[in-house]
Symmetry: C2
Subunit: 144 residues, 2 copies
């Protein structure tokens, strides 16, 4: 694996990607079983990933981290590899993308609100904490 080619690698083994991305090989194979990936195989049937596959894996990873299901991620990814001549699917794809976009924007708003609340709570807690510096309950004087 990894013919130290000039510049960037072109093909990766499953463990290459596993190590690089911090995903288990099981997870990667599972994603494939759900149709999120379709790597080539060597003559010996070992999976061979391209940079595109790696990019897809990164997207899957991000999607998961952001709370999307593998099914949702699959739907989105499929939009990117439908044959552009499949006009019938076009409108449907646009529709789906709009829906996801709406969801994403909604989540951004919600997360922003949560951020504000957390930040406020944190500031408040920190202030109270600093005021309790040498608290009145413990008469133990720590030096200085």
């Amino acid at each position: 694996m990894a013919h130290h080619d000039r510049g960037e690698r072109v093909a990766f083994s499953i463990s290459d990607l596993s190590t690089e991305l911090g995903l288990s090989t099981r997870a990667i194979r599972y994603y494939e079983s759900l149709g999120l990936l379709n790597p080539d195989r060597t003559t010996g049937n070992h999976r061979l990933y391209t940079r595109k596959d790696r990019a897809r894996l990164r997207m899957i990873q991000r999607g998961r981290m952001l709370g999307f299901t593998l099914q949702e991620i699959a739907d989105l990814l499929h939009l990117y590899d439908v044959d552009p001549s499949e006009r019938v699917q076009y409108a449907r794809g646009i529709e789906l993308t709009r829906k996801h976009l709406t969801t994403v924007r909604h989540r951004i708003r919600e997360l922003s609100l949560l951020e504000q609340e957390l930040a406020r709570a944190l500031a408040e807690a920190e202030e109270k904490f600093s005021q309790l510096d040498h608290d009145p309950m413990s008469d133990q004087r720590v030096e200085k």
Copy 2:
């Protein structure tokens, strides 16, 4: 349930909240079993929720939608109801809040990136679509 008191209700049954928030009663009870709620009980052991409980449920709901686990949500919620005199827990709480804040900010960034990608993909798709306006495959004229 709901003694049409003047102004706002003060107590809710589990199905009140279930209906109002769109959560199953099973889910609500499950949250309680994990310690996320602690409603009072009637003499007959039926759960009685306050407005605060409702607020907590809303937070749980938001947290779930944003991809947090019930355990993470529980940790955060517990920060809000520790007795403020529990100074020992203070530092820990501040630490935890900081961590969550970091996570939230990270997710906001990731989601923003995703938003941009989706928006770009959508614009691109829409343009191509509009150029295929009356596509050469279908000679069916819809009136007007």
